[in-house]
């Protein structure tokens, strides 16, 4: 009883300081609740309910049935491949343009192109690759006419995994360029000079100083690329006509009522994706914090 009577004392000045300032953010929070939190929440609720609306965890057990697990695995394969390949390619490009001794105009051009390409996605991107790598695509015909190499004979299909990988990389590596460029700019000239002054060769500087400094940024950006690919659907849908069983396409067809049949299972697939996306974002933030601390001056 004693403690409860003494409690209000310290909070009294806070109560007086209470203002109506929070009213200014009401529209934002209202929006967030109605159009972000509620939709996400409803997926979560749906995922732990059965057809009769009772609580259950069975839906999550259903994720391990073969077709669904395979969708996740396929999505993970595609996302990891495009994140790693696109990430490395984008990094090398940015490195060449920024630190490779090229004229400054190259860097500007590359960043502009990357801005466009990273925003050129979805349906039109899929069409561009069909026009390029399809049966009568530009590159397919070019290879055949010039080199006598028939892409169609190799088992390559513009609607397959390799083609989808190449298509995703088209927006993945420019994104890497855009995000990693500031990190490369953050490498101070003085670090190289200090290392040289202390006897380090160019390779030693790169191995002991520059690469470790960049590594969290590189990994962090690759994780962003991963989630970027993992959540994508329009490109894959338009390219393959919905016949490529990625997790997102599974959900696409579930919403249309074409697959699964069990609504709770559909929500569970969605929640599983949210967990993977959230987890990767958390890792990204951890890595981001590390570099920010290093490079703050």
């Amino acid at each position: 009883m004693q403690t409860t009577t003494t409690l209000p004392a310290p909070s009294a000045p806070r109560a007086r300081a209470f203002s109506f300032a929070w009213l200014g953010v009401v529209p934002f929070f209202l929006f967030a609740i109605l159009f972000l939190i509620l939709p996400s929440g409803i997926l979560l609720i749906g995922s732990v309910q059965n057809a009769r609306g009772e609580f259950t965890l069975e839906n999550f057990g259903g994720l391990f049935q073969e077709s669904i697990a395979n969708s996740y695995i396929l999505s993970l394969q595609l996302s990891v491949t495009t994140a790693v390949v696109g990430g490395i390619f984008g990094f090398l490009l940015a490195y060449a343009a920024i630190l490779g001794g090229l004229p400054r105009s190259v860097r500007t051009t590359l960043l502009t192109f990357s801005g466009v390409a990273s925003n050129f996605a979805g349906v039109p991107l899929a069409f561009a690759f069909i026009a390029t790598l399809g049966r009568l695509g530009f590159v397919t015909v070019l290879l055949k006419d010039l080199l006598g190499f028939d892409l169609n004979q190799t088992g390559f299909s513009v609607f397959g995994f390799l083609s989808l990988t190449l298509t995703y990389i088209y927006f993945q590596f420019p994104l890497m360029v855009l995000i990693i460029a500031p990190a490369l700019d953050g490498l101070k000239k003085e670090w190289r000079e200090a290392a040289e002054n202390l006897g380090a060769s160019a390779w030693q500087y790169w191995r002991i100083v520059a690469f470790p400094v960049l590594l969290p940024s590189i990994l962090g950006t690759m994780i962003l690329l991963f989630s970027n690919a993992f959540g994508a659907v329009a490109t894959a849908y338009a390219l393959t006509g919905g016949n490529f069983p990625l997790a997102t396409i599974l959900i696409f067809r579930q919403i249309r009522g074409e697959v699964l049949g069990n609504p709770g299972l559909g929500y569970a697939v969605a929640v599983g994706m949210v967990i993977i996306m959230g987890g990767s974002l958390a890792i990204y933030y951890f890595l981001q914090r590390k570099t920010e601390r290093w490079l703050k001056q």
Binding site: K188, L198, I208, Q297
Partner: protein, 354 residues
């Protein structure tokens, strides 16, 4: 032969001469400052010694070894940068031990040297910290330790204190000097701050526009500047327009009053206009006794600067300053008053006209 020699070192960037015909001999264990305004070539010269820039012509010799075209890695110099340039991904200890690790020294030897260095910079407890956990002053001390850990032949400091607060600047510069003297390490120190250069150095090289203006001890540079630039750049200087009255006797006219200088008025004829210079602290109010140089002046302004009081006076067209030490019982004239000021013959510097 001196320990560090720069012989006729020149550096041009495109059309501009950054450094022209730079000649300097530095003895083993000497502390030499390059002092000058930004763009005077002091940092470029330092970077040529470190090997980050190659001279357009000339030679740089360290301890009898011509290093002019050697890469930075092969010079065994220790460099401290204005921006600290600590490696952000390494602890303080790893930063200090970096050069030794590159040189392939055994772990135990590195650890021993790192501990020694941490003791020298009085940061024994900071070995495991990261640079971002340190203040600017601490980071610069670590950078200093990193540079001297490799036992360099020459220590090079490029404006190491300019990014720091005024108070830390003063204490750290004393620390740098103490460490340098303790280790007897040959040091080149680049700065635009005359107070730093004067207080730290055995010798000061005053530079302007890629050229050496004057080389000398701080005492010489301050008291006997040989060029107008050196005189103007170091300390406060009053420039006064005078007319030569009697070149042989060293007599000049300032605002219709005669003054004399102990310096020679070579090559000047009677009646020539010529500027002379006097440091504010050499001017004082004239007591009753007659002194050689007395000027009748009007008090224009009085500024309180703490330990000194700066009085602005005018004599005819000339306006100049005089400094008096502050004390609570000081009685100062009022603005608009007339007063007599005096200075010795030796205080009157005759500058080479450009």
């Amino acid at each position: 032969m001196s320990f560090l020699e720069l012989n006729n070192v020149r550096k041009t960037f495109g059309q501009t001469d950054a450094v022209r015909a730079f000649n300097l001999q530095v003895e083993r264990g000497e502390f030499v400052s390059f002092l000058g305004p930004s763009g005077c070539g002091k940092t470029t010269t330092l970077r040529m010694i470190a090997g980050f820039e190659l001279p357009t012509s000339g030679a740089i010799v360290i301890n009898g070894d011509d290093v002019t075209y050697k890469p930075p890695q092969k010079r065994n110099t220790g460099m401290v940068f204005q921006s600290y340039a600590l490696f952000p991904n390494m602890t303080v200890g790893d930063n200090i031990g970096f050069g030794l690790k590159i040189a392939g020294e055994p772990k135990s030897a590195i650890q021993k040297r790192v501990d020694e260095m941490l003791a020298i910079i009085k940061m024994e407890k900071f070995g495991a910290r990261y640079p971002y956990q340190l203040s600017g002053g601490q980071q610069q001390r670590v950078a200093l330790a990193r540079a001297i850990a490799i036992r360099p032949q020459v220590l090079l400091l490029d404006e190491p204190l300019s990014a720091l607060d005024a108070k830390i600047r003063v204490s750290l510069r004393q620390e740098i000097r103490a460490i340098q003297q303790k280790l007897g390490i040959t040091t080149i120190y680049v700065t635009h701050d005359q107070e730093e250069a004067l207080s730290l150095s055995d010798r000061v090289v005053v530079m302007n526009d890629g050229r050496i203006e004057q080389v000398g001890t701080p005492f010489e540079i301050y008291n006997f500047p040989t060029t107008e630039f050196a005189a103007q750049f170091v300390g406060t200087l009053n420039t006064i327009q005078a007319t030569v009255r009697d070149a042989a006797r060293g007599a000049l006219i300032v605002a219709n009053q005669e003054i004399t200088t102990s310096q020679k008025l070579d090559g000047l004829r009677n009646g020539d206009a010529h500027s002379i210079a006097i440091r504010p602290e050499r001017v004082s109010f004239a007591a009753d006794g007659k002194k050689p140089n007395v000027l009748n002046v009007r008090i224009e302004n009085i500024t309180f600067l703490g330990s000194i009081v700066r009085v602005q006076v005018s004599a005819g067209e000339n306006i100049f300053y005089m400094d008096t030490f502050n004390n609570p019982f000081l009685s100062l004239p009022k603005i608009g008053d007339h007063a007599e000021v005096t200075f010795s013959k030796e205080a009157v510097l005759v500058l080479k006209n450009k």
